[in-house]
C-alpha cells in the first residue's frame, strides 16, 4: 500500500480544495460534543474529535430519505425513484465506523440490492483516521477487532505529529490527494515513525471483553433463555436511543406523504427502532416482541449472532455510543461479560464430563 506524507500545515489548503469540488462532510464541534456535518471552512474540521453523537451512517442512510416521488393526477400513475448522487467526501471517519460502513455495504448490497443506499455510497469517498487514543470510556474497539484499519477506505490518515501519513486505498483516494499540495512519498524514516506511533498506540487500548469475539454466536445462542434478559428488560426504558446512535442499525419505516393537491407526493423511509413498542405488531394488534426484555435480546441476537453468521462481520463495532447514551447505563460490554460469566460453569461441567 502506497504511503504518502502531508505536512499538517498543508491540511487546510487540501480541505479547501476538497470543499471546492465535493460536498465535504467531517467531524465538527457542536457545543461540547462533535457531529458529522458539512465542512464549509477548513478550521471547522476537528480531527481531534473523540466520538460523534451520531455515526457517519447518516450520510449514507439519512434519518429521513425520499425513495419515491409519485403523481396520481393523470390516467396513469407516475412513480419515480429518487437517488442522491452528490459527490461527497466523508473525512475523518474512525476505523470502528468504517467497519460499520463495510457491514452496511453488505446489508444493502446482498440479496435484493438497494440502489438508494448504493448510489450514495458510490458517490461518497471515505477518508478514515487512525485512532491513537481510546475515544471515550465506553469504547471497546480493541475487543471487537475494529481498532485496526479495515478495508473500504479511499484514504487512511495517521497523525504523526507534524505530518500526516496517508495510505491510499483506491484510485478515488489518489484523485482526492491530487487536491493537496506538498505531498511527498514516504521514506524509511516515515515508515519507522509510523511504526513507532502504532506500537505505542496498541497498549493504550484495553481489552474489555473477557473472551474472544469468535465465541459470540455460540455464547448468544446458549444465552437465549437466561434471566439476564429479564433483569435488563426491567431496567431498559425502551427509548430506542441505542438504535439511533448505532453505526450498524439500519432498520427503517416507510411512510407516504401527500402534497396539498392530494395527488402528488413522496414515499420516504425513516429510521426505526427495534426497541420501540409496536415495532413487531401486526394487524389486529398482536405484538410478537411485546416485552422490553425480548426486544433487547433481539438486538443482541441480531448483532452478535445473526450478522456474524450471515456476513462474517460482527454487527457491533465497539464504538460505545449506545453505552454512552443509554439513560439506564446498559452497556454491551457488561451484558456480554455477564453472559459469558454465566456460561463458564456450564463449560467446566461439560469438560469434566468429557474428561
Amino acid at each position: 500500500m502506497t504511503l504518502k506524507i502531508l505536512p499538517k500545515k498543508a491540511l487546510p489548503a487540501w480541505l479547501d480544495g476538497l470543499h471546492a469540488n465535493y460536498r465535504l462532510v467531517g467531524p465538527r464541534a457542536k457545543q461540547e460534543n462533535f457531529v458529522f456535518d458539512v465542512i464549509q471552512n477548513a478550521e471547522d474540521l476537528r480531527l481531534d474529535y473523540n466520538t460523534t453523537i451520531l455515526p457517519p451512517k447518516k450520510v449514507l442512510l439519512p434519518q429521513q430519505e425520499t425513495i419515491l416521488q409519485f403523481d396520481t393526477s393523470k390516467d396513469f400513475h407516475q412513480v419515480e425513484p429518487v437517488f442522491e448522487d452528490t459527490p461527497t467526501v466523508l473525512f475523518g471517519v474512525h476505523t470502528c465506523d468504517m467497519h460499520a460502513i463495510n457491514l452496511m455495504d453488505q446489508v444493502f448490497g446482498q440479496g435484493y440490492p438497494d440502489a438508494h443506499y448504493q448510489t450514495r455510497r458510490q458517490h461518497t469517498a471515505i477518508v478514515t483516521l487512525e485512532c491513537l487514543n481510546p475515544c471515550t470510556e465506553f469504547c471497546f474497539c480493541k475487543s471487537m477487532e475494529t481498532l485496526s484499519v479495515p478495508e473500504g477506505f479511499d484514504l487512511h490518515i495517521t497523525d504523526l505529529g507534524n505530518v500526516l501519513a496517508i495510505e491510499i486505498g483506491s484510485g478515488q483516494g489518489l484523485t482526492l490527494l491530487q487536491h493537496a499540495k506538498m505531498v511527498r512519498d514516504a521514506g524509511p524514516k516515515d515508515y519507522q515513525h509510523l511504526q513507532d506511533v502504532m506500537s505505542e498506540k496498541w497498549p493504550r487500548f484495553a481489552y474489555q471483553l473477557d473472551f474472544d469475539i469468535t465465541e459470540l454466536p455460540s455464547l448468544i445462542a446458549l444465552s437465549y433463555k437466561t434471566e439476564v434478559w429479564d433483569s435488563l428488560g426491567d431496567r431498559c426504558l425502551g427509548c430506542g436511543i441505542c438504535n439511533v446512535v448505532c453505526p450498524t442499525c439500519n432498520c427503517f419505516d416507510v411512510i407516504d406523504e401527500v402534497d396539498f393537491d392530494l395527488q402528488s407526493g413522496s414515499r420516504y423511509r425513516i429510521w426505526d427502532s427495534c426497541q420501540l413498542d409496536r415495532f413487531c405488531s401486526v394487524a389486529g394488534g398482536h405484538d410478537f416482541r411485546s416485552s422490553r426484555a425480548n426486544r433487547l435480546r433481539h438486538r443482541f441476537l441480531h448483532k452478535f449472532k445473526y450478522q456474524p453468521e450471515t456476513y462474517k462481520i460482527v454487527g457491533c463495532v465497539g464504538c460505545g455510543r449506545c453505552a454512552q447514551e443509554c439513560l439506564v447505563h446498559i452497556s454491551p460490554v457488561d451484558v456480554l461479560n455477564e453472559l459469558y460469566r454465566r456460561q463458564v460453569p456450564f463449560a467446566s461441567i461439560e469438560q469434566e464430563v468429557l474428561v
Binding site: 400513475h77 437517488f83 401486526v282
Partner: protein, 284 residues
Amino acid sequence: MKPILAEKMKLLSIYQPSTMLVSRVESVTELEKLITIELPEGGSFQHRPGQFVEVSLLGVGEAPISISSSPSRTTNSFELCVRRVGSVTNAIHALSPGDLIGIRGPFGNGFPMERFRGKDLLFAPGGLGLAPLRSLINEVIDDRGNFGRVVILYGARHPSELLFRDELETWKERDDVELHVTVDRPDEYWKGKVGVITTLFYDIQIHPRNTVAVTCGPPVMYRYVIMELLGKSVPEGNIWLSLERRMKCGVGKCGHCQMGSIYTCLDGPVFSYSQIKHLEEALS
C-alpha cells in the same frame, strides 16, 4: 443537495411498485373483499402458493398481502383477499374496477410443493387464514393425482365470517376432498358444527407419518392446532405454517419481520414447525 430522478441514471429501485389494474372487486364478507389485479400487457407474474405481494396505494402506504389465487388458475392476473383493518386495507376496499394499484413482488418462499407430493394433506385454516391456503388448496386440487387424501378443517368465528362460501361448496361436492367446517358462535341458520377449529380434529383419522399438515390463522390458533397435530403424531417437520408479519420492505432490509435470526419476508412466510419451534417470537 439536489436529488435527481432515476430517469437520468437508469437505476432500478427495489421499492418501486409496478402499476397494475384492478379488474374486479367482490365482497366476500362484511370485512373482506376479493380484489382481482390484472397485469399490464406483456407483464409476467409467476408466484407460488404461500407467497405475498406488497400492495401500494400511493399517498396512503404499502402493506404485505398474501396471494389468494392459485397459479394453476390464473395467467395474467391474481387475487388478493383483503380484510380492512388499517389505512392501506381500507383504501384497498375503496377501490373499484378500473382503478390502478401498485404491486411489488411476489416475495417470500411459498409452500414447498415438492415435499407435499404423494402425501396426505391436512389443511387447517382459521378465519382469514383461508386466504393464503386457498391458493395452495386449489393448486393441489388442479393437480389432484399427485397427492394423497385432501382433508380441509376450516374454522371461523361466525357463519357470516366464512370466506369463499361458493368455493367451499365445490370442495364439499368433490369425492376426493374431505371438508369439515365449524364456527365458534352459530347463528339461527347454521346447521353445521359448532366449536373452535381444534374440535374438528377429534373426528378424523389420519396416517400420521404420511401426512403433511398446513395451517394458517390468527396467532392464538397456532399453538392449539399444533398440539392437536403433535397429538396425532404428525412429525414436526411435516407441520407447515404461514406466519403474518408487517413486512415493510419485503426484501430483508427494514427489520420489521425479523424473528431471531430469521427474516419472515425472505426465509418465510412459510415455515415448518421444526424450523421455528425454538423461537419464542414465532408463535407467542
